[in-house]
Symmetry: D3
Subunit: 127 residues, 6 copies
């Protein structure tokens, strides 16, 4: 990691810890042998740049992310990390389920169903 990145990396790691907690750190660690730079870019760009911006509160950011990942439909591991993140930063289970339910209108019922089952798995793990 180049020294000029240090500030963004430190800031990103703090945000990752605060938002995603252990689940986020696990993702970065799982990249260590196969593509460590992908992990570095996620920390620097996603968490050091984007999630650090003051223009939107963290709860709104997680609502947007859960909506996006439910809509994509092929990003279940990332959806589960962000459902945990949403709980971490103060969303209720009901609010998360509600965002996913709303996606039935825009992405169809299969996306809403699969998002809901992902949430159920996370809620059960967090019990």
């Amino acid at each position: 990691m180049k020294s000029t990145s240090n500030e963004r990396f430190e800031r990103g790691l703090n945000n990752l810890n605060k938002i995603d907690g252990e689940a986020g750190i696990n993702v970065i660690n799982s990249l260590k042998n196969i593509s460590p730079d992908l992990g570095q870019y996620i920390i620097e760009f996603a968490f050091g740049d984007i999630y650090n911006r003051p223009a939107l509160d963290l709860k709104s950011r997680e609502i947007a992310t859960i909506a996006a990942l439910t809509t994509l439909g092929n990003a279940t591991p990332q959806l589960k990390v962000h459902i945990k993140a949403a709980l971490n930063i103060g969303c209720t289970q009901q609010e998360i389920i509600e965002v996913i339910l709303q996606m039935s209108v825009y992405a169809g019922f299969p996306a809403a169903l699969n998002g809901t089952f992902a949430a159920q798995e996370v809620f059960e793990e967090c019990k």
Copy 2:
């Protein structure tokens, strides 16, 4: 339209008016000759059922919808209607741009770029 739908339809029409305003009514009107029942289902299900639920405030709902439609990438007309809706119900231009910017992380930069240009068109129309 069947009489048993009346309550959901009335409620949905009120919500559509409040949230999407003229842009939403225009969509329903544009369906009149080709598929009026699609318009009815949008009013009843999307606005009478989903947007009527108390579990999430309207601002959070519009943030989720803008995230979803930016991610889809092929729903520009609907994204523009909901960018107007977001302004209607109190989102700032900066917040809308910020949600779309965040989608670069999850859906890639092309989706974020095209969403941003859709927002620019709406903001210019609303001047």
Copy 3:
């Protein structure tokens, strides 16, 4: 569930039973604790409203649904439910395989391959 929904719900439950059979009921039941309203909307809107419309026979509807779910590519559980549904309402295994094969033209060979393997699992379960 609100009383005004009763007629659509009853109609939808009958259609769900007739079309999807046990597999459909299982989906609704699996939502009971996590998002029962999503289950209710699937019954009311998908099966009470849409699948109840006389403008298209059930076989054509299931062909359209199998085409759509194969194309989406990220809705395997729902594709499997509708492959069972297609068999229930009189499609042959050969017709189902043929619709999925045709999707190679529009959605590419990976979508057709994954749809085909989903069908194989369903056919083996139904033996």
Copy 4:
């Protein structure tokens, strides 16, 4: 075009003419200078191989294709060609609108809306 392809090509061209009519031939012609082999493969594989198979009637094939292209959401020119094709081989306007309406369940309302407006354009051109 290689001589070994002749039989599939002739068969495909006949099917393309019968199914898509002038709209299909226009697509092939529009490829002449930029990618003629893409046109040849569409004739040979899509229309010479797939649409030639007896396991599914043409009406069912067009229903499946309209469902797939509405679901994709980013293939409007191809959707319009196949809406014309569906009319050519005996689907009614109502059946086409109904297939697209059903896609609201699986691909969401934006996909159904944009498919419906594509159909409206085709129906108006065909008046």
Copy 5:
């Protein structure tokens, strides 16, 4: 299989063997009972027609395919077959990881993450 297809089929089978090796043959074999014609079309069209064209070297073709399958996000089994193919025809592990990493820009970080984990599984199997 019709006799007129023989030349394309033979050519395709040779290419499939050379490019995808055992993993490709396994896919074709797994289709034998459920949809053998899908296997035949993959051999004839994908490997007999497309991969046989001289306009692009095999390494560039595999880079394009890995980019496409990472972007799709719902074609993990096919992505793994083509990661193996890329290794077979001379791509390094580093080049494959790099193509997948680049997809973070166009398809978002979840697609890049899931593509990376697919590559890790293949690399471990190939040890």
Copy 6:
């Protein structure tokens, strides 16, 4: 723009100029009033970080990008910018058409058709 970003920004701007030329600069300029930070992140992350990495030559990178954008199907403006970029850095028109043609196998014929027509527009503009 924060001073700590300077090095990545300068490097990215140089790469953007070298690879995308005027078309790339136009994209960044078009963001100036609506979302300048999105333009900055594209320069810093896409062109300063990713396209600066030595692990893959620029030609392979553009082949991967054209494959990804053709597959996405909803990113035509970005596809056109990268078709110009591919020409800039030494791809031939035939190679670009060939990559897009190959996408018929993985993303279906509509994606290949729409990618081909995008290429035709770029080639005509560049005459």
